[in-house]
Symmetry: D2
Subunit: 180 residues, 4 copies
């Protein structure tokens, strides 16, 4: 198994990264911090003459790195009850990649992948983060990605997540599953 | 009553705009197309020394225009079961504005506003769009904005939404309520 | 098309029935008021020796009447953010019927049916009723029933629902679709 | 702290009870198996002359026992993506109790309680059980009960839940929290 973590956080060493550390402890993983790259919002050209055209930002390179792995972990802080705009821009662009001849079979290949979600928020995430989990589930269903599990964590200030014992134990269970 | 529509679409004259037309017919509204502006993703600096700093993009100007109105309509295509990254970046930035001395009382003022949501998607939006509605509800609750109503529409190809009679009648009912 | 309405209400002439009237106006429908019948809670005997045994209440007769129709409308007040216990007991029993030799092909036959949901609640049903809609969607998906639409209405005191213009227009749109 | 478990299961020694055992291990708890009692569906008489009248079944006795404790665990199999009809009938009756002079201050007293939910289902409960969690959250919010945590477990055949490591670790974390 080969694992990539896609981070949607916009500041380093935050609670999302800390919670993810529990989940990937002892595992070799590639880590991609989306905030380090330039990713433009998608422009919907599905119905335009000529279709999509190359954007020329860092997006394609990230997809190439991601697709080398068979297990994806999407780790995002919960901003306004959803994934960060940074991560949303990344996922929105999949609509282009699905139609991009540079990535033939993109959707078919995704159908062989496994995915996990780690999401950390400050306002009752164990309940108010559930719509985000439902959305990830729909995304994975659409792409036939197998949704293997998720961890929600509660944290506001730096370091807070270490006090969410529920999140800690769920991340540890995820770690064990990833090691199987 | 003074109405502003915030559009999250990334292409002009799409189904979201068409459905919104039914909702605002006969009303004077200001329309803001987020795709016409440069809006950077937020960088979370809530816990950084010095806090947030000016970004210098078009975001502040849009907030100023929005806040002149007492009724907001958030109109977005559903990309991957959620609002577009373009609209998400706009809303993520509210976390800065809440702490921005250029916008004193931002949250208090939002607490006097009314909001509507219009969202159009291709993959069973009347069910798979519900997590998005729940998220908007949480956002509005957090800001004490009164959530007055929403319309979900189904459309994939340009013009499709005109065949969703449920959406059409809901948009017409919204129009009547907006005129009261 | 042949339509049956299954009512979960526990008092006559309530808001749920009133809203349903808009939806079925001018249509010939069979109406089943579950409160008029004795329906025991299911006893899960899927894994018991001998399996399920006959209960001898009114349930089977209701299923027979329901299955003669090709379009089902489930009309329920929202009690505690979900369908009434009266309606839940009815649906729980489907787990027996699926395994009941008196109803061979029950699930296959359901796969040819269409369903609508009408649900009326007092506490912000347009948002807090959404989990119920998601559950009906899962039920219908499991049975391959086609989920054609739903109406949520807001009402607390008798007659209240007539002031929910959104619900009224949605019920009218449902009525038009049922007449197609 | 004094704990009561309310079981909604309809067969003994099922997966829900087994998962609950992990959560209450080493704790003294009162256990109430709703299936052992006669609980009629509510008849909504909020708007009837004379209001609600005594039902004469086992419901009131169960409420009395429940209210002696300060922490409630609602443990239910997931039937059709929701709590069992057996448990739903019990909760529906709260609408009567809130207006029952035999239970003065019922709602106020609930506002001092803590609650947990344990729910076990066979069809992707970690995702399809989320609407049920949202509904419990709304119920607890309405009553000002503090929602302390939940565990979802996956199981179809007897004993299955022991293989859901995620559920096991979450139940263990709940156990630790209950012991604090």
């Amino acid at each position: 198994m080969s694992i990539v973590v896609i981070y949607g956080s916009t500041r380093p060493d935050g609670n999302t990264e800390q919670l993810t550390k529990y989940a990937i402890e002892g595992l070799e993983v590639e880590q991609i911090y989306l905030r380090d790259y330039k990713i433009e919002p998608i422009e919907d050209r599905r119905h335009s003459e000529g279709g999509f055209s190359d954007v020329g930002d860092d997006y394609n390179g990230i997809v190439e790195r991601m697709m080398k792995h068979d297990t994806f972990i999407f780790a995002t802080p919960i901003y306004w009850y959803s994934m960060t705009g940074t991560m949303k821009n990344f996922i929105d662009r999949w609509s282009h990649t699905m139609r991009d001849e540079k990535f033939p079979g993109f959707k078919d290949q995704l159908g062989t992948k496994k995915a996990y979600v780690i999401a950390v928020g400050g306002d009752n995430p164990h309940v108010k983060g559930l719509p985000l989990i439902q959305q990830f589930n729909y995304i994975f269903e659409f792409m036939s990605i197998s949704f293997e599990g998720y961890v929600l964590g509660k944290a506001s200030r730096p370091g807070d997540v270490s006090t969410d014992s529920r999140a800690h134990s769920a991340a540890t269970a995820m770690n064990q599953k990833l090691k199987e």
